[in-house]
Amino acid sequence: MRHVAIAYLCYNSNSMTHNYDLYHQMLLIRRFEERALAEFSAGKLFGTTHAYIGQEADAAAIFEMLNSRDIVWSNHRCHGHFLAYGGDPYRLAAELMGKATGLVGGRGGSQHIHWRNFYSNGIQGGIVPVATGMALAQKVQKTGGIAVVFCGDGTLGEGVLYESLNISALWQLPVLYVVEDNRYAQTTPVEKGLSGSFRARFEAFGIKTFELESSDVLTITPYAEEAVQFVRDNSRPAALILHTYRFSAHSKGDDPRDRDTIAKIRAEFDPLTIQAARLTTIEIDQAESEVSMVVDAAFTRAHADPFPVL
């Protein structure tokens, strides 16, 4: 979300190309998540986390299209969305640690964060009507902003989502429903969780739907742009269905999926590898060193912060 200018995003000043920016964005998410997982494994973090590894292209593409008036609702897997929103990795790290300096003072933790127009909550589906209501607020307040809400494939199991689709279509609300189908809900493959078709579930309510399978950020970008623009221009809901893949475990460990399959998919589907092919070695190295500095600084600083009291 380039409209939100934030000091720590030092890379912006060094930014060379759009391709570089996108890579940098995705790499920040990747390294942040890897660090978080490593800290959990090392027993330095407590609680839980849900890594966005493999899905970075979705966030990078979508948040490019949003501006500061837009509202974003994210779910349990919110770190990637938050970082792409322009959120501060240090304050997110502090929140993961339950520190007083965290985004919400350590009260929410990994799944329950809020900063500016970005919100997340850990109840699957429940955020969908809330985001829909915020779209109504955007409309009646004539802000020009839209609301965007992220759901996983599994979350299409929750009924309140359909209630919301019905209403947003009836009332013509500027809300974009983004479905990130990473093929699994926790351990449940999409075939066991979803009958029928993703697309039809939205179209049944008269909601304009965009769908693609890719982890190439440049492939996703035009869809994201079209979807966002459709919602913004028409004050009507749309759905953007992104078929992607999750490389990491659902939360911290305990991944019952076949490792070889994951490795094989990762080999051709890793959004970072795909995007790296468009950069020079120098660019790649520079992104790596910038990002690792930012991530390391975030976690190191957060570790030193105090815990909250009531």
Binding site: H114, I123, P129, V130, G133, L136, A137, E163
Partner: protein
């Protein structure tokens, strides 16, 4: 004398007039119907842009209102029957009520959910319950109930405009047609009133010119009507003198006036229409027992059963003035 229904309607109309951030959402709330119990009648005609009739989607409506509230509007949701609050439990408990605290005090959620509760209309097991107790004690949520003694319009207006957090506003179906009482008039001539709390008024109601009370009756909402009738009869027919502590705010609530009363009377009878177990009265009893160590108490509540359709069964299941009297006699004997 206007009825409670008329005052609620007037209150809604007034806040919509003075504050254009107020939005109403609910099923079948448009004119000419004006809602299943007519509380919103006339409003969609006057404020067509801000009265939104919705599909039958209690959870989503509440979630949508939640989103509106967080963006600075003042949504008021009508849930057609209080029995359907089970469908909005997740939005109230895991969303609206948590957001402010969980987001470290950075958001406000001025959301009001209004809904009619209560039986005696012969609507049967799924349209007669008093389920407000499910939401008492939910952190971050306030539960209010109007009564005929203090202006329901004022209570509702204050809930909609003066609050920063979500509110469940419980209207008893039988209260709708009750006239708002004018203190000192008509059947109130025998009663004295002491207002013991302000924004959400609590009252101590005493019978004029009788000896010191030896029974405290705690009540809210429509049950004040039953408690009042019982108190008068207890005084005039049985020479048992009581004072009623009437609450508008049910959760969280200020117990002090009640404690003071129980310290005087040493007998406490809680009256409520919800089923007895873990009802409002349980919290009253617990709060009292934590502070007062020598008192007797009892609860006049619904039996722990669904509410039957049949009037004979309903009468046996729900508390009545007669039952209150019987329990009071038992308690103070």
């Amino acid at each position: 004398m206007p009825t409670v229904l008329e005052r609620l309607n007037a209150g809604l109309q007034h806040v919509m007039e003075i504050d254009e951030r107020v939005y109403l959402l609910g099923e079948d709330i448009l004119d000419p119907y004006g809602g299943a119990f007519k509380v919103t009648r006339g409003l969609s005609t006057r404020f067509p842009e801000r009265v939104l009739t919705t599909p039958i989607s209690e959870a989503a409506i509440t979630g949508i209102a939640n989103g509106l509230a967080m963006r600075g509007l003042h949504p008021v949701v009508e849930i057609m029957f209080g029995d359907f609050v089970t469908l909005i439990a997740d939005q109230l408990i895991n969303h609206a009520s948590k957001f402010r605290w969980m987001y470290n005090d950075q958001v406000r959620v001025p959301l009001v959910v209004r809904t009619p509760m209560g039986g005696r209309r012969g609507y049967g097991p799924t349209h007669s319950q008093s389920l407000e107790k499910l939401f008492m004690g939910v952190p971050g949520l306030r539960v209010l109930a109007p009564n005929s003694l203090s202006d329901p319009a004022a209570l509702l207006e204050s809930a909609i405009l003066q609050e920063e957090g979500p509110i469940l506003f419980v209207e008893h179906k039988l209260l709708y047609t009750c006239p708002v009482l004018e203190i000192g008039k008509a059947d109130l001539i025998d009663l004295q009133f002491e207002k013991v709390s302000d924004q959400y008024p609590a009252f101590i109601v005493r019978i004029a010119g009788v000896p010191q009370a030896h029974l405290t009756i705690a009540a809210y909402g429509y049950n004040f009507e039953l408690a009042r009738a019982a108190a008068l009869k207890l005084a005039y027919e049985y020479e048992i003198f009581s004072e009623i502590v009437l609450f508008s705010q049910l959760s969280p609530f200020e117990i002090t006036p009640l404690l003071e009363s129980v310290n005087r009377t040493r007998h406490l009878l809680m009256v409520e229409e919800g089923t007895q177990t873990l009802g409002w009265g349980a919290e009253i009893a617990a709060r009292t027992a934590e502070v007062v160590s020598n008192f007797k108490c009892a609860r006049a509540a619904a039996l722990d059963l669904p509410i039957a359709n049949s009037k004979t069964l309903e009468d046996m299941i729900l508390p009545s003035a007669e039952k209150i009297i019987q329990m009071a006699l038992e308690l103070v004997k």
